[in-house]
């Protein structure tokens, strides 16, 4: 026992003396991961800039300079897609985080059956988008779908859902006999239907992350708050929310990044509702859908890459902005 302790400490001092005693074998351990990541993750990011200057098909590329970018920035489809993407982010991220927080907070109240609730809420997250889109496309089917059946029971007019290119606010306005001006008509009902599907699938993830965040809050704080006579809402507002701020920020950042790249939900819903990519009048065409369509159906790899780069720049700028904003907010609080 003592002998090994002495040996260990002498080994330590020896390591301190001979400062350059490296484990060169480390590079062999790192090699597989570094090679794969370099070839398929880092190099492609740089190579993308080169591809974006190419015209023609993949096996017959030719250099065309910045034409792809100029074309993209001049294409109304690109700006339409960007607008749809912003609608999609604004319509899914706050709702998922808000609902996730409510569900997690309620689950955290030492409720019976907590494990079962948690398992159910998380279930959609493990199911593939294709399989769930098939059901949701059926739910929103204008003939025989549950959504219209529900409207019928409520005495509301039937809707075309995934086939509807009119903005939701226009539809709601029409129901109330209000004429909504063009720029306030909002995302198409088709895009809103996809958003409902996306919130349904993402909710469980946020619940789990919030539960982990709530577990980390010291229970004594709540006790102290109660002794001071705070009610449930005050505890939530002045203890839970501020201490969950890092969790909310984390979810905000990754959800915004994820939603800006939204592809699977929209693609599968378009396909399952037997529509062309982009939905009715292109109102579900997000930037990723636009990119994929150009690559897969139009064979324009260079053009599609320039769109991917523009999207990446937007995501990057937005993430930086969020970090700046959060740092400032953190200092202020």
């Amino acid at each position: 026992m003592t002998e090994s302790a002495i040996a260990a400490s002498s080994a330590k001092t020896r390591a301190c003396k001979e400062r350059v005693k490296y484990d060169w074998i480390a590079y062999i351990y790192l090699a597989p991961a570094i090679i794969i990541l370099t070839v398929f993750h880092i190099l492609p990011a740089f190579y993308a800039f080169w591809i974006s200057t190419q015209g023609g098909r993949i096996r017959a590329f030719r250099f065309i300079g910045l034409d792809n970018y100029i074309n993209a920035l001049q294409a109304p489809e690109f700006w339409g897609a960007l607008q749809n993407t912003v609608f999609y982010v604004l319509g899914t991220v706050p709702f998922t985080i808000g609902l996730g927080l409510i569900v997690a907070y309620l689950l955290f109240q030492k409720i019976r059956g907590r494990g079962i609730y948690r398992a159910i809420y998380f279930l959609p997250h493990v199911i593939s988008a294709v399989a769930s889109a098939i059901v949701w496309a059926w739910v929103f089917n204008p003939t025989g779908g549950v959504a219209n059946r529900l409207l019928q029971l409520l005495g509301l007019p039937q809707q075309a859902w995934l086939l509807e290119s009119d903005g939701v606010f226009k539809i709601i306005g029409a129901g109330l006999s209000i004429q909504v001006p063009g720029f306030l008509q909002g995302p198409s009902l088709a895009l809103v239907s996809v958003m409902i599907f996306a919130v349904w699938q993402a909710l469980g993830f946020d619940v789990i992350i919030f539960l982990a965040g709530l577990t980390n809050i010291n229970a004594e704080l709540y006790e102290a708050g109660k002794i001071d006579g705070a009610n449930g809402w005050q505890l939530f507002r002045h203890i839970t929310i501020p201490l969950l701020a890092p969790t909310i920020f984390f979810l905000l950042v990754i959800s915004i990044i994820g939603s800006f790249q939204a592809f699977n939900h929209i693609y599968t819903m378009n396909i399952a509702a037997s529509q062309s990519l982009g939905g009715p009048l292109g109102t579900t065409r997000t930037v990723s859908i636009f990119m994929f369509d150009q690559l897969y159906n139009q064979n324009r790899a260079g053009y599609a890459t320039s769109i991917a780069i523009l999207l990446s720049l937007i995501i990057f700028a937005l993430t930086l902005f969020q970090f700046r904003f959060f740092e400032r907010g953190g200092e202020g609080a």
């Binding site: 794969i36 993750h41 492609p44 098939i134 349904w200």
Partner: protein, 319 residues
Amino acid sequence: MMNRDRILHQLTNLGIHFVLLSGALFVIFPFVWMILGSLQTFAETTTATLLPASPQWSNYEASIRAMNGSKPCVFDPLNPLAILERERGCIIVRYFANTIFIGFGTVLGVLTTGTLAGYAFARLRFPGRETLFKILLATMMIPGELTLIPNYVFMVWFPTPESLLATTLGLPGAEAHNWIDTYYAMIIPWIATVFSIFLFRQFFRGIPNELFDAAVLDGASHSRFLVSIVLPLSRPVLITSGLLTFLGSWNALMWPMLVTNSPEMRPIQVGLRSLITEAGTQTQLLLAGATMTIIPIIILYLFFQRWFVEGISTVGIRG
């Protein structure tokens, strides 16, 4: 006074259960709907029927047949492997076999590269350790959208190892074959992730130094220490990382769709996506197909639910 408090408490509890239960019903109803719909007739699917008049189990057979190019499945006991072909067998079996093969291949790769690199970053001293790790973390910012097309171009360019060998040796009839429509394309690009390296590094840093010192005194090399002491302790991180990788691989859609051409190479999600084209508006067949593809993953989820949840929580806390 006490009594009133208790009643209030009970009422609050009831309210909470009401809200949670409504939410849970909203979450679970599409699954119930999927199974009920998969047993309905086509006419029933167009009239918002809840329960089928008589369960149409034949929908499942019809769905499998639609995937198979409208031919019934064949199993020839004399040539059992032919079941993996669309023309002479049953393509859905091939879809599942592909998905499982790709899933296990990817998991094995991710765990191997993650363990080795995580160990190096956590336990070994070498020049540039911190810089290299920071660079890796920074590359997590690269969005998948950006690398998709360049990687696709690589798949068109890269020769498969066996075709490269054959052409280099000048074997008769040797032809260069690229990675399109191969398992390489669906496994190799995904066998290392920064995220799992990060998970492994964090976990290995938590292993007490005493264990390591003792092993060194016994004359153990790093590889011996890693295999005989570290790995047996690492079950949680192996399971978490493995499950999340397998799930991602099982549900992947865009990439396998891009890099496969023949039905024989499709994983199940691409197969299901093709069924939408093949079965058209026959909703009940699509629902039967969807049900078949989610059953394995639901079973996996029920068994490993705790690990999934804990894995995701770690993501949140450490991310």
